[in-house]
Symmetry: C2
Subunit: 437 residues, 2 copies
């Protein structure tokens, strides 16, 4: 059978990895796909830098040369960012080409219009590499768990943050110090905002929520809180109480809508996902039939991401002659079957909480705090008052609450902070059990 | 679009679960699949028992009524065992029907002839539910990791054994006592041989190895050793050395062939898979591009297994109008592209070892043992000699070796057992690092 022709946009970390994997495993991939997947052209920024890697592959500095090339069946978008990625993808679709992309920002932000255009044109747009790198989580959710009503999912989907949190715990180090070390090692970018403030995770969570629940991409409605405010004390206290702190992306079907939130989270240490360390990713999915399932692997990197890109290429190769109606829908659900379930505001979310505050070690303080919580219908699961440090008058008090409404917790925190005996702000970290129930 | 018609063979644990899930999630499944998946008939052993569950579904006690029904597009085989399952599946294929099966024994034993017949007839035979219950591991290996040369995989793929090993560790209990408890709780069958002697795991491993490496099913060549000889002392000693003991199915691409083996295995406790407890399953897969990935979930049970059956039904529904050449091949690789890589005999396997022996506490014993190992080119990674128990003359000696050839270890064990100072047999448990390298 004649080869399928692929054009690459970008030959950086992921593009280079894709070319390398396609070449190294050409024989196995052809044995599986039934036909050769041949890269025929790549668009790059710098011809000189790319030539050694390209090894004879025709190069261009104009990405539209690839998108408009009539010989190309599938365009692989690996340049990242919003523009010109969006324009290139839309033009590829308009030209009747299938698209494979690793661009989570693009999919989270413009996925709805991209998939609508692809649907109208009868082409496929696949994005396995956009979430959790090499872990086939899109395929698992969209096809493997298709029997299930998904109840919730929770993922460690930003390797940089997980690396930083793992180091803070292992070394008892402060956030700023670990961040600097991560930047030195290449685990964090010079501007780490997207990673440490949860924005990258929120892009990926948006994509996961769409295919889990059959809803449109709604990145702008996701609640996003990063890890930059976490202290080493919180990491240690959590550990003493039997928990680990992870930056989780959580999507949950609640009574009146869908919770969509990224924030640091205490997880019981006995959960498998609490033990995912370093730059690795993992997604825990709870389906009504299957129960909890977990998917673990490298969430970034050249060849792990290329693994997902090539899997998409094989899928598209297999399905490109199929009746479009029989293909797996872009968002798991048929395009006319998306639901308009609302995304809940954060105040309407129900979860448990870790609260840490500093208070003067005097009688009545705990009574005041516990009364405020009781008045807000918040019940306490555990409370620890630390010994005051030598020569200090203030002590750390840590409270774990049962599941309650975020709105009530906000109100209670405001009242606690107003107490004379309480110094400064209350540190609030959400807590999820993530058990089978 | 008109519904696709499904006939069920068996309405027991998995069949009942399949019917329940298809009914409860009918709306979501149709939203995903684009058409209704309708069960139109079921074959059962006992009409009276089945009627309540069936709720109006036409029943028959003759499974050939289902297989020969011209209205049925897909036959779901859930009766288990070899016959008449094989005959029914072959007749369904001959009748031009697609087949979904959860029968690992059937696929491991007769998969080659079943897939050849399906190929010739242009129908699909899918078997996601045959391995690791609800975990979409077949899909992950066959499609999600299609870019990779699979280097090895290691799975906890028998829930009963894992439950027993978890209990032995948690409670310090003996194998026989835990087995009785597992039988009482319904985790183990009255005749537990298939589960505890590794045969069930070997069926599943055979299936995984075929799709990982593109080789035919070769169950009869798998090395199979169960957990019934494990003592609570071994479980405890392993723990003291930083390991957990799990019954693993391991398939590894070695220099001269493929290792295919089921046996109790020491795993470093920091590995995620070492922390998979109770009746849960997990499969760790190492691909050359993606690195290690892990898939975790319920490996058995009514609805988890049904989740996999229904996922296969949706896949078949989507692909049944497609050109057969463009479907995912049964064994991941195109049928004319299977490899004849040999399965290695156990003596040619290379792994590390835990050896435990009882010896008289007298001078020169350790020197004799270590000389025997050195003469067999086996290097020692760790050695522990336990204090003799009160009033005993013999002590337990535990050795961990580096990776070496099984044949050499067999020879060394024979020599060690022949030493006057050594009492009884040497306990040998294999040890795998399962790290990223």
């Amino acid at each position: 059978m004649k080869p399928i022709h692929v054009g690459l946009l970008g030959l950086g970390t992921v593009g280079g990895g894709t070319l390398t994997v396609l070449r190294r495993n050409a024989e196995e991939i052809t044995r599986r796909a039934g036909r050769e997947i041949r890269v025929v052209r790549a668009a790059v920024r710098n011809l000189d830098k790319a030539e050694a890697l390209a090894g004879g592959l025709p190069l261009t500095t104009n990405p539209f040369d690839v998108v408009d090339d009539p010989e190309i069946d599938i365009v692989v978008e690996l340049i990242g960012g919003l523009e010109p990625a969006r324009e290139l993808v839309m033009q590829a679709i308009a030209n009747g080409k299938h698209v494979v992309t690793a661009n989570k920002h693009l999919v989270a932000k413009y996925g709805n219009e991209i998939f609508a255009a692809a649907q109208a044109k009868g082409v496929m747009v696949t994005f396995e590499a956009a979430v959790a790198g090499g872990i086939p989580i899109i395929k698992a959710l969209r096809e493997g768990l298709t029997a299930n009503r998904i109840e919730w999912l929770a993922g460690i989907i930003n390797g940089t943050s997980n690396f930083i949190l793992s180091e803070m715990r292992d070394k008892g180090a402060a956030f700023d110090d670990v961040l600097k070390e991560a930047q030195r090692l290449g685990y964090a970018e010079a501007d780490p905002t997207f990673d440490i403030e949860g924005i990258d995770a929120a892009h990926k969570l948006t994509i996961l929520s769409a295919i889990a629940f059959g809803i449109p991409m709604q990145f702008e409605r996701a609640y996003t809180e990063g890890i930059s405010q976490l202290t080493r004390e919180d990491v240690r206290y959590a550990e003493e109480l039997g928990y680990r702190i992870k930056l989780l992306g959580i999507a949950r079907r609640a009574e009146n809508g869908i919770e969509l939130r990224v924030h640091p989270t205490l997880i019981p240490e006995r959960r498998l996902i609490a033990n995912v360390d370093g730059a690795m990713n993992a997604v825990l999915v709870k389906g009504d039939a299957v129960g909890p399932t977990l998917y673990y692997g490298a969430g970034a990197g050249s060849e792990p991401t290329a693994s997902a890109v090539v899997a998409d290429l094989v899928d598209v190769t297999r399905l490109h002659t199929a009746d479009p109606h029989h293909r797996v829908p872009h968002l798991a659900f048929q395009p006319d079957q998306l639901a308009d379930t609302p995304i809940l505001p954060m105040e309407a979310v129900r979860t448990a909480y870790y609260l840490r505050l500093r208070a003067f070690d005097r009688p009545g303080v705990l009574a005041d705090i516990t009364r405020i919580l009781a008045d807000s219908s918040i019940s306490i699961d555990a409370m620890v008052q630390k010994e005051p440090a030598e020569g200090e008058e203030q002590v750390d008090i840590i409270l774990l609450t049962h599941v309650t409404l975020e709105k009530n917790v906000n109100a209670a925190i405001a009242k606690i902070e107003a107490l004379d005996a309480v110094a400064g702000k209350v540190m609030r970290i959400r807590l999820e059990d993530l058990g089978a129930k």
